[in-house]
C-alpha cells in the first residue's frame, strides 16, 4: 500500500518509528498482536461521584459519569461555551457575479472559527418545503442534496483564505516605479524583481487618477486595457473582474470608446468551441449538448459510459459534490464506466470499471482507429448517417487512408497505438463494445481542454458518436447530473435584462457580454495579450467569447483598430484578481510583455500577494466575501452577505476601489459609476428586478432580516420526465429538429470551415490527425520529441480552483496536493510512472524540474501507478515563485520553484484561426534537480520569506517586512 506519511509532527523518535515501521499508524497495514503497548488496562483510579466498574482484560474501561465540565470558571466563560455569531457565505470560486455552495461561517469575538455546510432545515427550508425530486431504477434511488450543501474541502478551509499570511494589508507601490511614463522612472524591466513599499490609499488613488488622465490624453482612451475576467470569489455588488470597467466606460467620448477590453475566450473547452461545435452545433459553448432528461435517458437506456473528464474534481470550484453521488448511482444501476484519460483521475480512481490510459491530447488517433474498425467491419449506423450527416463520405475516405495527399494512410489500430498509447487490441475491443452496447460519451475535458490542436480530437470524437447514431436511446452526450430537475428559480445577478439594464453584479465580467453593441470597439483576446504588446499589429478571426455563435469565428478583427477610430496600442493595464501567469498560454512570455517599455503603468487589485500582482506597479488590497456587505445567489439559493468581519488591514471591496478612484476624478464620475446608488441600493435593486421578491414573498426588509431564501425544486418535474431526452428529437426527425450547424446535420465536412478557411491545414474542413504543424510542434514522435520525450498533462487542479487556494496549509498536507522536498519547501507534485522515474534516477519525493525551451518549473516527484508512462502530470495554477526570471537571460534559463507550468506551456494560440490556449499536452522533459546548487547560485530568491504551511509570504515582497 502506498501511504504517504509526510507532515507528521516529530515525536519521541524510537517508539513512533517503531509504530511507523510496523505500519500501525492510523490506517496502516496490520502486523499482528505482537506489538502491544499497555493493552492490559491498569486498575482504574476511583472516580469522584461516579460508578467504578472493576476492569479485567477485555472488559470495558470505566465511564466517568461526572464529566468534567466548567461552564464558568472564576467568573469567565470557558471558551467552549462562549457565544458565536453566524453568517452565511458562498464558497464558490466561480466569480463572474455568481456564487454557490453556501456555508454557515461562525465567528467568535470578531474572528472566524469555522465554516460548515448550510443545512436547509436549519434555515427553515426542510423537505416539505423544498419537495425534492426522486428518481429510482431497480430500487436504487437518486435524490438531490436537499438536506445539506455538499460542500468541498475548499469551502471548509475558507477561513485560511481570509487569514492567509499572504493577504495584502495596504496599498503598495513598486520601489523603483514612478508615474509619468519616463522609462528611466518606470523601470519596467524590474517588474517581478523589485519589491514594494507601503503607500496610503490617498496617494495611490491620486496617482491612479492622474495616470489615467495623462495616458488617455497622450495616447487616447483605448490606451488603457481593463483586464477584467477570470475566476474569483462569487460576489454581486462587490464582484471582482470588472468594477473598473464601470468607471472607465464613462471616461471616453462614448461607452465603447473608453478603454480596451480583454475578451475572455473559451478556456477549458477550446477544442469544442473552435472545433466540436462545427460538427454538432452545440452552441454557443461547444459543450452545450442538449441535456433535457439526460440522466433519465442514461438510467433507462445506457449500458456503457466513455468518460474523459473528472467530475470528482472539476465541479469542486463551482458546484457541489453532487456529481459524486450521481456517479455512484450510475454504477449501482449497472452502467459500466470506462475512463479514457492519461491519469487515473480522481473520478476514475473510485468509479472506473476500466481505465484506458491514453497519451495527453493524442486521442484523435484513438477515435480515428475506432472509426476505421467500424468502417471495415461494417458496424456503424449507415441509415442514420444518410439522413443525419453531411460529408460523411469524405471523412470515411480519410479514415480509410484514401484522401489524396494524406501522409498517414489508413487509420488502423496499429497505426494509432504508438500515437495514442492505447494498445491495438484494446482499441478493437473499444470499437466493438461501443457499437454493441448502448454507449454515451461523458464530459468535455480531456483533449478538448487546453490541448494541442484540440479542435481535431473533439471533432473526431463527435464524428464517432454520429457513426453510432447520436441521439438514439442510450447514445447521447452526457454531463454528470445533466438534465436533472432543478430549483424552480434561476436567480442570476450577472445577466443583463436588456441593453439599458445595469447588472446588479457590478463586477460583471465585461468580456462575457461581448455583443457588438456593448463591447468596446478595441479589444484583445485574452490568449493574445502578450503577443499584442510585443508584436503588434495583430489580426485574427473570431472574438472567441464563449457566448458567440460559430459564425463569429469568421469575422475579422485587428489590434490596434485604425487611428481614425481612436485606435492605439495599450500603455496601461488595470487588472483585477489576475492569474494570467499561472493559468494561460505562456506565462513567461506574458512576463516579458509586462516588462515592455510600452506599458507605463500596471495597476492590480487583489486580496493576496501572488502571481500577477508581483509584476505590478501599484497594488491595491481587496476584501474577501467575509469582509463585505452584499447579496449573493447560486443554484436556487439567495442569501444576504452580512454579519461579516472587519476588512483585513486596509483592504477595500472591488466596488470601493473604483469608487475611490472615481472620487479623485470628480463628482461626475462618482455619479456615473454609482448611478447615484449606495451599495444597499444596488442589492435591493437586484433583489427586486431579478424577481426574488415575487418568488420569496419577502419584502427587502424581511429578506435582509431572514438572510437566506431557497427556491423549492421544480414542482412539475415528474411530468417533465416525458420530454424527449438529449438529442432524441434530432435522432427521430432531423428535418423538424435540426442541429445548430449550417446544414442542420452533423457535419463531417464543416460547411463553415469550407466556406471560410478551406485551406487551413490546422483545422481543415474534414477533421484530421495533426501531430504537428506551423503553430505547434508537440509531437512526441517528432524531432522535438527526441529532446522532450514526455507529454505534460495539466488538469484542473484538485486542491485549488485554478490559482485560488494554493496557500491553504491544511490542503498542502495532502499527498497529492504538495510534496515536501528535502529543503522543507512544499512542491507542486509531478506525477511520474515508476518506469519513467527509474529511467531518470528519480525517486518518490525528489525535487525535480520539468522543462522545455521556454524554461523550467520545479515540482516534487510523485511516483505512482496512477499515470501512464510517457507523461509528466502536474496540475495548473500553482503560485509563481521564480528562482530566476532575469530579463537579461533567455527564458530557457528561467526557473520557477512554485510549479506554475503555464509559464512554460506554448504561447501560441490553439491553431492559426482558433483563439484558444494550449495548457496541456505539450512536450517536456524532467530531471532531478540539485536544490542546494540552485540555492547557492540564486541566494536572494531562496532568502525570500516563506512559510511551508501557506507558501509565499506577503512580507517577502514588501520592503520593511511585516509592518
Amino acid at each position: 500500500m502506498e501511504e504517504k506519511e509526510k507532515g507528521q509532527e516529530a515525536n519521541k523518535p524510537s517508539r513512533r518509528d517503531f509504530l511507523k515501521s510496523a505500519g500501525l499508524l492510523a490506517g496502516g497495514a496490520a502486523v499482528g498482536a505482537g506489538a502491544t503497548y499497555g493493552l492490559m488496562p491498569k486498575e482504574p483510579a476511583p472516580v469522584e461521584g461516579g460508578e467504578v466498574v472493576p476492569s479485567a482484560p477485555g472488559q470495558a474501561a470505566p465511564i466517568t459519569k461526572e464529566v468534567i465540565k466548567y461552564e464558568v470558571k472564576e467568573g469567565v466563560l470557558e471558551p467552549a461555551f462562549e457565544d458565536e455569531v453566524s453568517m452565511i457565505r458562498g464558497t464558490s470560486g466561480m466569480g463572474f457575479g455568481r456564487d454557490g455552495m453556501p456555508a454557515r461561517i461562525e465567528t467568535k469575538n470578531g474572528k472566524i472559527i469555522r465554516s460548515r455546510p448550510v443545512r436547509y432545515a436549519e434555515e427553515g427550508y426542510g423537505p416539505d418545503y423544498l419537495k425534492p425530486w426522486k428518481i429510482e431504477k431497480d430500487g436504487k434511488v437518486l435524490e438531490p442534496a436537499y438536506k445539506k450543501v455538499l460542500i468541498t474541502p475548499l469551502g471548509l478551509a475558507y477561513k485560511k483564505r481570509v487569514y492567509s499570511p499572504n493577504r495584502i494589508r495596504y496599498p503598495l507601490m513598486r520601489v523603483d516605479w514612478e508615474p509619468g511614463g519616463d522609462p528611466a522612472k518606470v523601470n519596467p524591466q524590474n517588474r517581478g524583481v523589485s519589491k514594494y513599499r507601503r503607500i496610503s490609499w490617498d496617494e495611490a488613488t491620486t496617482i491612479i487618477a492622474n495616470e489615467l488622465k495623462r495616458i488617455q490624453e497622450k495616447y487616447g482612451h483605448f490606451a488603457v486595457l481593463a483586464q477584467a475576467d477570470g475566476h474569483g470569489e462569487g460576489k454581486t455588488v462587490h464582484g471582482p473582474h470588472g468594477c473598473q470597467t464601470q468607471l472607465l466606460r464613462h471616461m471616453g467620448p462614448d461607452e465603447q470608446s473608453s478603454y480596451t477590453a480583454q475578451i475572455r475566450v473559451a478556456d477549458s473547452w477550446e477544442g469544442w468551441y473552435w472545433g466540436g461545435k462545427h460538427v454538432t452545433g452545440w452552441e454557443t459553448m461547444g459543450t452545450s449538448a442538449p441535456s433535457t432528461n439526460m440522466t433519465w435517458d442514461m438510467a433507462q437506456n445506457c449500458e456503457l459510459m466513455l468518460v474523459s473528464t473528472d467530475a470528482e474534481t472539476t465541479t469542486w470550484g463551482f458546484n457541489e459534490q453532487f456529481a459524486s453521488l450521481v456517479m455512484y448511482w450510475l454504477t449501482e444501476i449497472g452502467i459500466e464506466q470506462v475512463y479514457i484519460t492519461p491519469d487515473l483521475n480522481y473520478a476514475a480512481a473510485i468509479h472506473a470499471d476500466k481505465w484506458i490510459p491514453v497519451l495527453p491530447c493524442q486521442d484523435a488517433a484513438l477515435y480515428l482507429a475506432v472509426c476505421y474498425i467500424w468502417l471495415t467491419e461494417d458496424t456503424y449506423d449507415k441509415e442514420y448517417l444518410a439522413t443525419h450527416a453531411l460529408g460523411f463520405e469524405k471523412f470515411a475516405e480519410y479514415v480509410l487512408g484514401n484522401e489524396p495527399g494524406d501522409p498517414e494512410g489508413p487509420k488502423t489500430p496499429e497505426w494509432a497505438a504508438p500515437r495514442c498509447g492505447v494498445p491495438a487490441w484494446t482499441i478493437r475491443a473499444l470499437a466493438r463494445n461501443w457499437n454493441q452496447k448502448k454507449t454515451s460519451l461523458v464530459g468535455f475535458m480531456g483533449p478538448g481542454m487546453r490541448g494541442t490542436y484540440s479542435t481535431e480530437p473533439c471533432r473526431i470524437q463527435a464524428c464517432a458518436e454520429g457513426m453510432q447514431g447520436y441521439g438514439a436511446p442510450g447514445r447521447n452526450r452526457y454531463s454528470i447530473g445533466g438534465g436533472l430537475p432543478s430549483r424552480s428559480a434561476n436567480i442570476a445577478f450577472d445577466r443583463r435584462l436588456n441593453q439599458t439594464d445595469p447588472a446588479p453584479a457590478r463586477g460583471l465580467e465585461e468580456s462575457e457580454v461581448p455583443q457588438d453593441y456593448f463591447r468596446p470597439h478595441q479589444y484583445i483576446r485574452k490568449v493574445e495579450i502578450h503577443e499584442a504588446i510585443l508584436n503588434p499589429p495583430l489580426s485574427w478571426h473570431g472574438t472567441g467569447s464563449p457566448w458567440m455563435m460559430a459564425s463569429d469565428q469568421g469575422r475579422p478583427f485587428s489590434y490596434p483598430i485604425p487611428k481614425e477610430q481612436g485606435g492605439t496600442e495599450i500603455h496601461m493595464i488595470w487588472t483585477d484578481t489576475p492569474c494570467w501567469t499561472t493559468c494561460w498560454n505562456g506565462g513567461n512570455k506574458y512576463i516579458e510583455a509586462m516588462r515592455s517599455e510600452k506599458i507605463e503603468f500596471i495597476l492590480t487589485e487583489h486580496p493576496w500577494m501572488e502571481n500577477d500582482t508581483l509584476y505590478s506597479d501599484i497594488i491595491l488590497p481587496t476584501t474577501t466575501r467575509t469582509e463585505e456587505f452584499d447579496i449573493s445567489a447560486g443554484a436556487g439559493n439567495v442569501w444576504m452577505v452580512k454579519d461579516g468581519i472587519s476588512p483585513i488591514g486596509e483592504s477595500k471591496t472591488d466596488y470601493e476601489v473604483s469608487l475611490e478612484v472615481a472620487k479623485k476624478l470628480g463628482d461626475e464620475y462618482v455619479q456615473k459609476y454609482t448611478w447615484g446608488r449606495s451599495v444597499e441600493d444596488w442589492m435591493k435593486y437586484g433583489y427586486e428586478t431579478r424577481k426574488i421578491q415575487e418568488l420569496s414573498g419577502l419584502t427587502w426588509e424581511q429578506f435582509k432580516e431572514k438572510g437566506f431564501w431557497a427556491a423549492p425544486f421544480d414542482a412539475e418535474w415528474e411530468a417533465k420526465l416525458d420530454a424527449k431526452p438529449g438529442a432524441r428529437t434530432f435522432y427521430e426527425d432531423p428535418v423538424a429538429n435540426p442541429l445548430k450547424t449550417p446544414s442542420g446535420l452533423m457535419e463531417y465536412e464543416s460547411s463553415f470551415i469550407l466556406a471560410n478557411f478551406p485551406d487551413d491545414d490546422e483545422r481543415p474542413p474534414v477533421p484530421h490527425w495533426i501531430p504537428e504543424g506551423e503553430t505547434h510542434q508537440d509531437n512526441p514522435l517528432g524531432t522535438r520529441g527526441e529532446k522532450y520525450p514526455l507529454l505534460c498533462q495539466s488538469n484542473h487542479p484538485r486542491w485549488r480552483v485554478h490559482a485560488e487556494h494554493d496557500d491553504i496549509s491544511w490542503l498542502r498536507e495532502i499527498p497529492t496536493c504538495k510534496v515536501k522536498g528535502i529543503d522543507g519547501y512544499l512542491y507542486e507534485p509531478i506525477w511520474l510512472h515508476p518506469s519513467e522515474a527509474e529511467k531518470r534516477g528519480i525517486k518518490d519525493g525528489d525535487i525535480i524540474g520539468m522543462y522545455n525551451e521556454r524554461g523550467m518549473v520545479l515540482g516534487g516527484a510523485y511516483v505512482t501507478e496512477r499515470i501512464m508512462p510517457g507523461v509528466a502530470y502536474q496540475d495548473h495554477g500553482a503560485r509563481v515563485d521564480q528562482i530566476v526570471a532575469d530579463p537579461n537571460l533567455p527564458q530557457s534559463e528561467w526557473i520557477d520553484r512554485g510549479g506554475a507550468n503555464n509559464l512554460i506551456c506554448p504561447e501560441k494560440i490553439l491553431s492559426r484561426n482558433c483563439g484558444g490556449q494550449v495548457g496541456s499536452g505539450f512536450l517536456v522533459e524532467v530531471t532531478k534537480v540539485d536544490i542546494n546548487a540552485l540555492k547557492a547560485k540564486y541566494p536572494e530568491a531562496f532568502a525570500r520569506q516563506y512559510d511551508p504551511g501557506s507558501g509565499l509570504r506577503f512580507s517577502g515582497w514588501v520592503v520593511g517586512g511585516e509592518l
Binding site: 507532515g7 509532527e9 492510523a26 490506517g27 468534567i68 471558551p79 480522481y346 487490441w425 510512472h833
Partner: protein
C-alpha cells in the same frame, strides 16, 4: 453509546473529513474539552489513500481513521493522571487538557497512532468526537457533518445493527472493542487483460484459473479481455490462462500489494 461507521465503498477521497476536523480544532480553543490543534502535523482524523495495482489495472481505496474510542482504551489505562483521559456517557474518549502533563504515555500506548503530542502546549491531543459540539446539540461531529456521500456516519449503536453485520473493525485482534465500524476494507486483487498477439485482439472468454492460499478460483475474461480476481488474501498465487488454443501460466504472484498484470499475451 455512540459509534462511527466508515464505509470505504462510498468514500470518494474528498478529504472533507480531515479538513473539517482541522477547521474545528486548529486555532480554536475548546477548553475544557480540548486545546487548539497546531496548524499542521496532527491528524485527529486522518484520511489514508491507497493506490492499488499497476497501470492500467489500478483502483483507489480511501480509509479515514480517527480515534477509535475504544471501550478497552489503552490510552486511558496508560494515563498516570486520575481521570486524565476519561470516557463520556456517549462513549467518546476525551483527554483532559487541563490535567495532561505531557508525559506521552498515551501517545505510545495507542496502537492506531491516533494521539499526537503538541510540543508547544506540552499536551497529548486527539479526536474528541467533537464532544463540545455534541454537548451543544449537534448530532454528529464535524467530519460526519461534512461528509458528502454518507461514507461517515455517527449515531447510536442500536441504529446501526444492520451495517455492523457487514462491517468489521480495525485490528480486532487487539481486543480493544473499538467503536468505529468499517465497511469496504479492501482485500487484494489480481487483474489483467488477455490478448492474442498473433492478431492483436483481446481474448474474450479465456478461462483464468487462480490457485493459492488454499483456494482455487476461476473466471472468464470479459468483453474487454479483462479478468479481476478480487477479495484475495495476502499470499502467493499462481495463474493459468487458457484461450484461443493456447495456455499461459504465471507463477509466484505475490499479493503483498494488489497486482495489475497489464496486458498479458497468450502465445
Amino acid at each position: 453509546m455512540k459509534v462511527f461507521v466508515v464505509n470505504s465503498n462510498i468514500c470518494n477521497g474528498c478529504y472533507n473529513c480531515q479538513i473539517a476536523c482541522k477547521d474545528e480544532h486548529c486555532g480554536n480553543d475548546w477548553s475544557p474539552y480540548a486545546k487548539p490543534q497546531p496548524d499542521t502535523g496532527q491528524f485527529w482524523l486522518k484520511q489514508n489513500e491507497y493506490v492499488r495495482g499497476n497501470v492500467p489495472q489500478v483502483k483507489m481505496t480511501y480509509i479515514p481513521v480517527m480515534c477509535q474510542h475504544c471501550e478497552n482504551a489503552p490510552c486511558m489505562a496508560a494515563c498516570p493522571v486520575r481521570d486524565g483521559i476519561y470516557r463520556r456517557e456517549d462513549g467518546m474518549i476525551v483527554i483532559n487538557p487541563k490535567t495532561c502533563t505531557g508525559c506521552m504515555s498515551c501517545v505510545d500506548a495507542c496502537p492506531y497512532g491516533a494521539i499526537f503530542y503538541n510540543k508547544d502546549l506540552n499536551l497529548a491531543q486527539k479526536c474528541t468526537g467533537c464532544a463540545h459540539l455534541l454537548d451543544k446539540g449537534w448530532t454528529e461531529p464535524r467530519c460526519v457533518d461534512a461528509c458528502p456521500t454518507g461514507a461517515l456516519q455517527f449515531g447510536e449503536e442500536a441504529d446501526f445493527a444492520e451495517l455492523f453485520a457487514q462491517g468489521e473493525t480495525l485490528h480486532p485482534e487487539y481486543e480493544l472493542n473499538t467503536r468505529v465500524h468499517y465497511i469496504g476494507l479492501p482485500k487484494k486483487f489480481i487483474a489483467g487483460t488477455v490478448y492474442d498477439p498473433a492478431v492483436n485482439e483481446v481474448v474474450i472468454g479465456a478461462t483464468c484459473t487462480l490457485t493459492g492460499e488454499g483456494e482455487t478460483l476461476t473466471l472468464e475474461t470479459n468483453h474487454w479481455g479483462d479478468f479481476w480476481f478480487e477479495d484475495l488474501k495476502e499470499g502467493v498465487y499462481s495463474l493459468k490462462i487458457d484461450g484461443v488454443g493456447k495456455s499461459k501460466t504465471i507463477a509466484d504472484i505475490s499479493t503483498a500489494k494488489d497486482v495489475g498484470l497489464g496486458d498479458v499475451p497468450l502465445e
